[in-house]
Amino acid sequence: MKPAPARARAGPVGLAASTSRGADAAPRRPVAAGSPRAPKQVRALKLAVFTLGLLPLARLVLAGATGAFGGLGANPVELITRSTGTWTLVFLCITLAVTPLRRITGWHVLQRVRRMLGLFAFFYAALHFTTWVWFDHWFDVRAMVADVIKRPFVTMGFLAFVLLVPLAATSTDAMVRRLGRRWSQLHRLVYVVAIVAVLHYWWHKSGKSDYAEVTWYACAVALLLGWRLVARIRRPR
């Protein structure tokens, strides 16, 4: 096998692409694999993120199984759908926040959990998708196809999920090495996913003209992508 490009080997891996091409070229000393920087600290951070990331699922499972936290309410499928959808968006936003936060604060250790955060976004998206396929449509392929074709908000949701799949599939170290610079190009898809995911939610709420919550996510995504745009313009290549 070809030796992996130095950038990919040294650089962090993650579902989300980094800021920009220009930024990619910059060396990333502090977060290189095998860096002397306290691996214990990194391990603790990873464990913390992993545990926190599972909490939303734990809450749903416990509520469903034992009635804790007020149970799943009168309409459990609706609650599960909303919860998994919301957490997908939250993890997408957190993932996209890693690079700006790292640049602003200098906490480069954050980069070490970016892949995990991105995979949590995929994990909740997969649960959201499964809820739709199973609990909502009961594997009725015809009904699902009709849903995707006829209803723009479902089209958007479906598209966002489909676009996430290759990102999750190429999130292993081996895939990062194999794809080289194409990896970071591919993972820039996450920007599209975030926009499409917000559109999915926006469209869903449009019938009720109830945009209060989705506006927050739209602003967050706009801010996170806007920061990248500004950073790119400011950084001459």
Partner: protein, 319 residues
């Protein structure tokens, strides 16, 4: 009027009719009637209008064999946008609604326009128990034991003129009592409407209670409509004005999203909502997560009674 709303919005246990009492309600009602007849009006409690106070009612037509949705689900999971857009908002916020004093103005194309006091309206006709399916346009359903009398009883008292073709129902719009009015989701007041023949149909119920008790605020106290063959939003809540008009009115949801909510909004599994299919539904409290949704019935299962109202109409166009 305050509804005690403990944490979680659950009704206090004293508010829940024990199932044994509920399932035996008819014999109980008969027993009470017998008691009243014997001059022992043990239950002849003054109708205080307090949510939860018992109502005197008799079994109505259209009996249902279906299992009623629990009192808790009926009273904590519903839409009433005047108190918020989430389904737990009405139960959490409707305690600010004051169902007394209350009047209902009946006006427009009628020979005898009048303003009814709510207590007068309650005594206009004998109250009946009517167990109806309720299908929400969002794809879920319930079975609710309502208490009320046919709207036709009121129509007979006010005598619509020959010009009356439609009836509008206006919900209260008082921002002091209804925090949801701050939101611009809908144009307030909430207006719903029926064709006159729909309004006069024996299924159409002027409703003042559920589970044998005065309506809880969140379910549309003190008086609401129940039109069981149409999607739930067609049944206006907390009504203050009933107006007879000649032209087809523009209703609230129809105005907000005309391509999604038509004037008729009859339950119809063959006409999809633009954002989801209406072919199936999930019965609240019965259809679990790991259960296939049940098919939605034409006119919510009331086709035998109401299909005639729409003979010759294209229901895909007049959705």
């Amino acid at each position: 009027m305050l509804i005690k709303s403990p944490a979680g919005g659950e009704p206090v246990s004293s508010e829940i009719t024990p199932r044994a009492v509920w399932t035996n309600r008819r014999s109980l009602v008969q027993a009470v009637a017998a008691g009243v007849a014997l001059g022992a009006p043990a239950w002849a409690r003054a109708q205080s209008g307090k949510p939860g106070a018992k109502l005197q009612s008799q079994p109505g037509p259209f009996p249902s064999m279906e299992k009623s949705t629990s009192y808790k689900d009926v009273t904590t999971y519903n839409n009433f946008y005047e108190f918020g857009t989430e389904k737990d908002d009405p139960a959490a916020h409707a305690h600010t609604l004051k169902p007394r004093p209350w009047t209902v103005a009946v006006e427009g194309e009628v020979r005898k326009p009048r303003v009814f006091d709510i207590d007068e309206l309650l005594k206009l006709a004998p109250l009946e128990d009517r167990v109806y399916r309720m299908r929400c346009v969002e794809g879920w359903s319930m079975v609710i034991p309502w208490v009320g009398y046919p709207l036709s009883q009121l129509l007979a008292r006010v005598e619509p003129t020959g010009n009356a073709k439609y009836v509008e129902f206006y919900t209260l719009a008082d921002s002091k009592q209804m925090p949801g009015l701050r939101s611009s989701v809908l144009a307030w007041p909430y207006v719903e409407a029926l064709r006159l023949d729909e309004a006069a149909h024996p299924l159409t119920l002027l409703t003042v209670g559920l589970y044998g008790e005065v309506l809880p605020n969140q379910n549309g106290a003190p008086v609401r409509m129940v039109v069981p063959w149409k999607y739930g939003f067609k049944s206006g809540k907390s009504i203050v004005r009933i107006r007879f008009v000649e032209k087809q009115p523009v209703t609230s949801w129809n105005r907000a999203a005309p391509h999604e909510y038509g004037f008729y909004s009859n339950v119809n599994p063959e006409v999809s909502h633009p954002r989801w299919s209406q072919a199936t539904e999930r019965r609240i409290g019965e259809d679990g997560v790991f259960q296939r949704k049940r098919p939605t019935l034409m006119f919510n299962g009331y086709a035998e009674q109401v299909a005639g109202l729409y003979a010759g109409m294209d229901l895909k166009r007049n959705f």
